[in-house]
Point group: C2
Chain length 384, copies 2
């Protein structure tokens, strides 16, 4: 049974709701017919509130990394100075992409597990008057940090004329995003996280001032050229054959999000975060990230008296529960619990219950039920 | 019922077999776990005979166009001379990509509807001693031409040291491809054609001599960097989050292809081609392409006494049969019937039967059943 009973609690890919799976199992349709035009017309409007924007949200057939590269090669040119806020592995990825394209890269490196500090960013920007773009990661998946994007945006615009480019891959759809109001110039996300879809689609939106830069940018690009996607989206189409079945799923996933309401979705994610953190606090197992920087979509746990990898292995074997490990220098040091998309407070109770058994099984003595009780209490308090 | 009864007979996207749909509806799994490793290990071996190669077949999460761009930016550098064999819209796409990246583009332009002539290619290559790569389209989807890739490859290697790069998007899996034996240096295809999957995956393989060029090529690239995909594939992994559900479908599609056998698959496509062409010949409706260059995966029809668009409209409305129109200057001049992937000789009988009714309905008087009879006869002759 275990192959069917997947408890996938990593920070993406995330589980797929049954109605989205059914939508993706519809008969294949032509990518240039009327059905597809209507589908694109529906989904493009519903993506806007999730980004908090009036701008077009472009739809790419690609992974999230392609969307990061899209932001880089459309908004910046080789030789341009850029400042990258690196809070973990995905900030690091922006650096690698910018290095590959010969940008002049400056970094604001933050200790992994901590969030970026707006006033430290201000100090850096004052020393770097020629920066054309500042890159940040909204939720740093590798450390479970939610960076203060709204405040960072304020500083970027106060201290510079740079574009502010945000990787929202592992949180958009699960946490409030106000692209227009906050002044985010480019925002990207992927399908396989809070959007409740398999991997394979990426979404990207740009502000009016970013579009001016993108339109004038001579940097060579073809498949990732945002201008091509915008031109076609305005005609309810795509420049290249899109992943049709994923778009059929997207329509249904957006219908589910509509029915729940964005405010309720954000509250649900906040509740799952508080429950998860309460459980580990009750069990006296350290969390990697302080409350103030904790992400509503993923939690990182940094045990000091048992091996993270041993726990991951035992819960996978006995319960089919997949937890994520650490990346790069955090490998073996932490484990991460994804709680986004098609995931509920009830799922958190289950995860904590399993982890408690797993801890016993690897020889760490705990009070069984203590973490679950704390999560239950947190849930009830959130509902007051 | 019509939304469920899609008769999708365009040259991709193509219909999805039920067992492939079920495979894609399995619970989501982690992209870095043991299940995924095993899945990648299985599919990577089964892709090789379809390409006719011992080399690694890389798996991208992207459309076919991204795979064409991948070939360009990995194998060639800005300023390099390239020769592009343009037999239709997809040869044209190679030109656009090479132009975008500032290659020095030479073109061998062939009248749309005809196939490239190896000896004409030889003459051109003799005049262009510095060409680094020759690009060709195996099946030119826009004209339903199957170019003589084996013979073109011979000429390329006889007359030059150039790499021979082949777009096999709309035929690989449906027609014999012997990458190693024929000396093809880079071959790409997509998932949504003869491979019986939705769009969203692209496959690409390179010869040993192509890999030497790719490894040494300093041209900037990140998401499309073939080196990253090869390194990870050798560890049964991917450099970026792959489209997991499509990979689950790929495993099943490859199992279906295995069970049928490649030889039988190619024979089935050949049969569908001969049946389709026999029907239009019997009805005295002109085909765009001569027999010698006709593709086994798609047929283009160029009516001289009725409007292609009118026929497409009436069969769509009354039967849910989707045929493709013409592209670029062939728009409105032709219609195209896709017969690849999850498509059988019985489906051809149905398509011809519907088209005959459609012709009557738009006012063209024909002998009902004449085309069907010719297709039936062709079928029986093929089975002798």
């Amino acid at each position: 049974m275990q192959a069917d009973k997947q408890l996938l609690r990593i920070p993406g890919p995330t589980p797929i709701p049954p109605s989205v799976q059914r939508a993706m199992s519809q008969p294949m349709i032509g990518h240039r017919g009327q059905e597809m035009k209507e589908l694109i017309n529906t989904v493009k409007e519903k993506l806007k509130p999730i980004f908090g924007t009036q701008e077009d949200v472009l739809i790419y057939t690609a992974s999230g990394t392609a969307a990061l590269e899209t932001a880089v090669i459309n908004a910046v040119q080789p030789g341009d100075e850029v400042l990258i806020i690196v809070t973990g592995a995905f900030g690091d990825r922006f650096t690698k992409i910018c290095d590959e394209y010969h940008m002049k890269v400056h970094k604001y490196e933050v200790t992994w597990g901590e969030g970026a500090e707006p006033e430290q960013l201000a100090v850096l920007l004052q020393k770097l008057p020629n920066v054309k773009a500042v890159f940040a990661t909204f939720c740093e998946t590798s450390t479970a940090v939610l960076n203060p994007i709204k405040e960072l945006a304020k500083v970027v615009h106060r201290e510079s004329d740079a574009l502010f480019i945000v990787d929202g891959v592992s949180c958009i759809g699960g946490t409030e995003t106000k692209m227009d109001e906050w002044g985010l110039d480019i925002v990207v996300t992927g399908s396989q996280k809070a959007m409740m879809l398999p991997a394979g689609l990426a979404f990207i939106a740009a502000s009016n001032r970013a579009w001016k830069v993108i339109e004038a940018n001579p940097h060579a690009r073809f498949y990732l050229d945002m201008r091509k996607y915008r031109d076609k989206l305005q005609k309810d189409s795509t420049p290249f054959t899109p992943a049709v079945s994923l778009l059929q799923g997207l329509k249904q996933a957006l219908a589910l999000m509509d029915a729940e309401g964005l405010h309720s979705i954000y509250e649900r994610h906040e509740t799952m975060k508080v429950m998860t953190r309460a459980a580990f606090k009750a069990l006296s197992i350290p969390l990697l990230t302080a409350d103030v920087h904790a992400s509503p979509t993923v939690t990182a746990v940094k045990p000091d008296d048992f091996a993270a990898e041993e726990l991951r292995k035992v819960v996978k074997t006995n319960f089919g529960l997949t937890l994520a490990g650490g990346q790069q220098h955090l490998k073996g040091q932490i484990f991460r619990i994804g709680h986004m998309g098609y995931c509920s407070p009830a799922d958190i109770l289950q995860v904590i219950g399993i982890i408690e058994i797993g801890l016993q099984q690897i020889g760490k003595t705990i009070d069984l039920g203590l973490g679950v009780k704390a999560a239950q209490t947190a849930y009830l308090e959130m509902k007051l």
